[in-house]
Symmetry: C2
Subunit: 302 residues, 2 copies
Amino acid sequence: MLDVCLAGTSGMVPLKDRWLTTLYASSDGHAVLIDSGEGTQVALAAAGCHVKRIDAICITHYHLDHIGGIAGLLLAMGNAGRTEPVDIIGPPGLVEVLKGLLIIAVPPFDVTCYQVVGSDEVICRAGKIEIRAFSADHVVPCLGYTLTLPRKPKFDPEKALENDIPIEAWSLLQKGDSVKIGDRIVDPSLVLGEERKGLKLLYSTDTRPTDTIVEMGKGADLMILEGEYGTTDKIDRAIKWGHMTFPEAAELAKRSGAKELWLTHFSQSMPDPEEYLENAAAIFPNTVIGYDGIRKTLAFED
Amino acid sequence: MLDVCLAGTSGMVPLKDRWLTTLYASSDGHAVLIDSGEGTQVALAAAGCHVKRIDAICITHYHLDHIGGIAGLLLAMGNAGRTEPVDIIGPPGLVEVLKGLLIIAVPPFDVTCYQVVGSDEVICRAGKIEIRAFSADHVVPCLGYTLTLPRKPKFDPEKALENDIPIEAWSLLQKGDSVKIGDRIVDPSLVLGEERKGLKLLYSTDTRPTDTIVEMGKGADLMILEGEYGTTDKIDRAIKWGHMTFPEAAELAKRSGAKELWLTHFSQSMPDPEEYLENAAAIFPNTVIGYDGIRKTLAFED
């Protein structure tokens, strides 16, 4: 299961009733955070997200509304008792940006920086959550992320018998470990059934629509995309500033075959983004307008 | 008149219902801000303080809860249309700290930095508000500030007549300008009465009690002091971390002869600091427990 909480939903400016966009996803006591603008530590506390559990912080890009709160967050994690190392992922330039922002903040744990440009490879993991990054299309270098939780294949006793595996070895093989039986090294695949669909979440702000988002989002259980502007008449601004309209985001969710779409990163010119829901839902019906603290547990199928 | 607003009152940690301590004081369209922790731009917006008017930002010290929001604040000032230069004052190290924190934020106006250790001199002005700094006693170099608004002496027509000043020159002299009459340069003092008491506000967090606070606060219309801990039984923590208890702050206000005391910078261990008011009021009756958005207009006497 993957617990997902959008603790903030504002774009560009932190407002008194809307925190800057930030995503907290956790599974089995390990959490990933995407973006940490000014006030994110407060947004997480308000939403009941445990900062101590954050193993990895993914930064989309180096605009202040996406990383301006990282020093406060890291100190808050330390105050919460975190001592284990933390991974921080972002576009090239990460180390230099952190050196600046952390000039008067020294977290009480090690930090490993991953400066990436996007690829299909897993960059790092938080528990069993796999983190991948892809290039977005913003006015500065920017990344989108997928968080996936793989699912082990089912144990297949018939296959185990066919492959002549003694019952004593079944339990270890079922867990995914190789087992030595006599002179033979037995691979778990000899007792396991077919690959099973895991869970996939795609997150992308700030960006124009791209084919990469569609590709990376194929079969996603949840897509979380920016909806800076509710209406198509703001398209010129969206293009100029590297953002999307609700219809554009909905079109991406539709093309990717995602199960559900959450919109976030709303312009302060939209006090009530819910008013524009229909502009997205007409294209992709299972659209939800994000709000601070919205949460959902994604569960494996069947 | 000096309008004073304490837009935040939390110490060390920004909370969902209490912003980090920050003071906004303005007169005649010119404002001074003291401290800018994470979220201060939101606190100011919530309290209705105009960030565009901030001519000077005074930083007490370089702990994150006092300066971590400066990048966001400067950008917010720019977004509000500010183009005039801004003065920033703080202890030595200011330039280096700002270089770090502003690594991804370039405000659209010039910034002049004043690195000071405290003295009786006016460091700079916001309109007619004079800013002075003094050394506080914290675990790192730290400044307290006084904001004073001088008051012009009254025009004294009898003195003007005695000094043989023609009526045509009265108006200019009354404004404080020197005037040339024939070969004679006439000084405004020849038509003005005695010095009149202006307004004085003293602000000091984070600090242990000091004689300097008493000295600098002599005759203050308002003292704003930290009250990290409500009760004397926290004195060991107060000494260890360079903070004050309510009774200690009240004692300083009493000794300085201030008219009124506001307490602020409350520990997160005190959800309702009002509970401990009596611990200060027993020593200095005109004590007010600060809260986010508390405001007052200080007016000249009579």
